[in-house]
Amino acid sequence: MKTRYLSLPYLIWALVFIIIPIGLVVYYSLTVEVDGKLIFSWANYKQALTPSYLLALWRSIWLAFVCTVICFALGYPIAYIMASREYASKGFLLFLFLVPMWMNFLLRTYSWLSILERNGFINSLLRLLSLPEARILYTDKAVVLGMVYNFLPFMILPIHTVMKKMDSSIIEAAQDLGANGRTVFLRVVFPLSIPGVVSGVTMVFMPSVTTFIISKLLGGAQFMLIGNMIERQFTESRNWNLGSAVSVMLMVLILTSIAIFTVVDKDGEGGALF
């Protein structure tokens, strides 16, 4: 069976609902509005390459990177524990990590405000213990915390999927050959889980680069990430052309860096990210 053709419905879907809209965005990014008419121009890209935008872009990528690393550090052990034999029959526990995401995103983030603010729950607790006040809200710590909270399940689930039912005969074989727990993990389990890690990293890193509500609410509007700048161009400053140019620049940057990372990977699935 030519399994390749199974992707045909998706390819058609992607052509209409991904490629064409992207084409529109590229078109907007290459034009400026003069007297109600769109005229070709590089001006948007020139403006998108000014220091303010590059600074915001750099900061967004850095924060997304930090968020991804933390999600991995926290999420990998969870996926690993949940896949281990004693928890394998407790699949519902995994759901427990996803269920909070079914409560509304804005309400969740407002709750974090109540927890973190100057007179919030954490500081009330600290005051009770006569400890100094923690200043978390309106700093990058709060933004990273908000991002980690919202993206963590997207790290846990794909890793868990590849770990569950990892062929236990391979692991037993390694143990039979005298490998200890650590060696089994480093030489067998971890390498086999890498495809799941790559998916998790993709699902955490990419959306966190463009996040803007989390930074607005927990970092304050002065906390300028590239997502906030794009959003402002499409609303308050109503320069869709500039907003499009910044978005295109962002997408090209991220997609080419993924392509460069995976250039050595013959399957092209990003397995060589590490």
């Binding site: 069976m1 399994t3 390749r4 053709y5 199974l6 992707s7 998706y10 390819l11 992607a14 609902f17 991904i18 809209p21 529109l24 965005v25 969870i78 690993y80 524990i81 281990s84 034999r85 004693e86 394998a88 029959s89 519902f92 269920v99 909070p100 079914w102 409560m103 509304n104 804005l106 309400l107 969740r108 407002y110 709750s111 974090w112 927890i115 909270y149 794909p158 999927t161 590849v162 236990s168 727990g181 998916s199 993709t202 699902m203 990419m206 959306p207 463009t210 997502g227 959003e231 499409f234 609303t235 978005s247 962002l250 997408m251 997609l255 993924i258 392509a259 399957d267 092209g268 990003g270």
Partner: protein, 272 residues
Amino acid sequence: MIRLLKKIYLAVMLLFMYAPIAVLIVYSFNASRSRSVWGGFTLDWYAQLLRDKSIQRALSTTLSLAFLSALLATIIGAAAAVGIHSMRGAFKKTVLAVTNIPVIMPDIVMGLSLLVLYTYLFHFFPGIKLGYGTLLVSHTTFNIPYVILSVLPKLKQLDPNLYEAALDLGCTPIKGFFKVVLQEITSAIVTGAMLAFTMSLDDFIVSYFTKGDGDNTLSTIIYSMARRGVNPKINALSAIMFVAVLLLLYVINSFDPSKAQKANGLGLEGES
């Protein structure tokens, strides 16, 4: 010892995940509309919720949309993942890059570009309007990548010899596919479906731009309330949804036949 550490770690992480949920449920009982003042205990918001037809309608739109878009995305995405897995070279890389676009594209750009696309398409198909259909298409579009990204790693892990062996043993290719490949990747498909469902529930920006007049999801209502303060009715609704989901999980789990079965997790318990 290690067993205990694992328990503690999971407990701490669950505390982290559920602390904000607990806070938002507590506020559903707050007589004051402000989160900064405790105005005393009340069930008033729950009573108001029961009378609010527009929120009830939004709830049904939200759930049916999340369910249908996740279903559609799962079918299209899982098939696509199998197809992509058997591709090679530059074409595969291109398809994968395209797949990443909806994940990386800022929501507002995606929402607006789809809005422009739809209104353009309406010129050719008069009679169609923004509405549930456009919402479903938009949600499916941003859901598909999450399904593909969940299924691909599992396919990579799959032993290709298994499928060959099935064919050698006399399976037809289609039967072999259903018996071997699909069987192996089911858990990944389920994961993808759950992630898609979650993405759909949470989205408000794409929904805002692609919905018609009068259709609302819970998220778009809450987002538009933000300017004037979110009504605690919404907290009450979240609390009810939360309890319903937990009850559902509990009931399903207590009737679960697999508890009696031998667990099939990683064989890693030797060291503990």
